[in-house]
Symmetry: C2
């Protein structure tokens, strides 16, 4: 159930549940007295994405099969915050599991809603610096490839390739951080 | 069901259905012989988002309540491609319904997957120019506000406000187009 100014939620029912997300059907009454219904997806947890910058200023991307879209995609390392974790701990864990890297310096670059019309999910965008390489421990499809790439080449990767939210959104957060730290 | 190189999908079952999206449970076998299962959401259609640039070079944002995240958000006009529509027609319809504007010049700026780990959904990003104002016809929450804003102010709006995918992702597509058209 979501509290929204001007809307009165009169009912909230879990319409579907699986180990990764639930579908909720909420009934509400609007300020004008009309009733409405909204189906939305709640993974029950926030998510994190990590822009990891190495000592050359290059960035770490992870390639993996994304089943829902039927594609192998290169994206910034990302994943869900699990029970008992804070977002920073989840970011550290995801970076280590997917790439093997640990990082000495962490900054929160910002937050955004990943798909505001469908998903109750907030994404936390982290910057990781002071990288030390180690052993990765990939899960999921286990076809993960790790690629180190310059920001310039990421920009050109964005032309004519398979683009996803997890490649595109972290870039403006990182560019804003860079602009603030170079001026 | 999704065809992915190296994966054999052995079963696909609709686990939930509502008027806006379905949840599918697919079973598959990986190249190494291990079986797996994936729950994902399929709205059954693509989506569109429109960067509409007026004669001053300012951009049109739409504010509305986004029920899943419990927030009133300013975003670029966006919506689903409906049955029998192509993405460009959907972009024209969404811009007109949400803002009242029609546009004389349309360009496709690019495409991306909105949430590659959960949603089978591709977003088409359009640029609309040569705007003519008219009557809007908002649906959904009917608390839509239309705002004209400079690209510079959108960038500052991104600091300390409620940010969503539909505000953030179109900007780099638009900036790339601008860079290509000014050089």
């Amino acid at each position: 159930m979501n509290g929204i100014e001007g809307l009165t939620t009169t009912g909230s029912e879990r319409a579907h549940e699986n180990p990764w997300f639930s579908v909720w059907r909420d009934d509400f009454i609007r300020p004008d007295g009309k009733s409405g219904q909204y189906f939305f997806i709640d993974p029950g947890m926030d998510a994190v994405v990590v822009v990891a910058e190495d000592s050359n200023g290059d960035l770490i991307l992870v390639g993996q099969t994304r089943y829902p879209v039927g594609s192998y995609l290169y994206e910034f390392p990302a994943g869900a915050v699990t029970v008992g974790e804070d977002p920073l701990s989840a970011a550290k864990r995801e970076l280590r599991e997917e790439t093997g890297y640990t990082a000495g310096v962490w900054d929160l670059l910002g937050e955004y809603f990943t798909s505001s019309g469908l998903l109750k999910q907030r994404m936390h965008v982290f910057l990781a610096r002071g990288l030390v390489s180690g052993e990765s421990a990939p899960e999921e499809m286990e076809d993960i490839l790790v690629k180190t790439i310059s920001l310039e080449n990421i920009r050109s990767l964005r032309v004519g390739s398979q683009l996803s939210n997890l490649l595109l959104v972290p870039i403006p957060f990182y560019e804003r951080w860079k602009a603030g730290n170079n001026s």
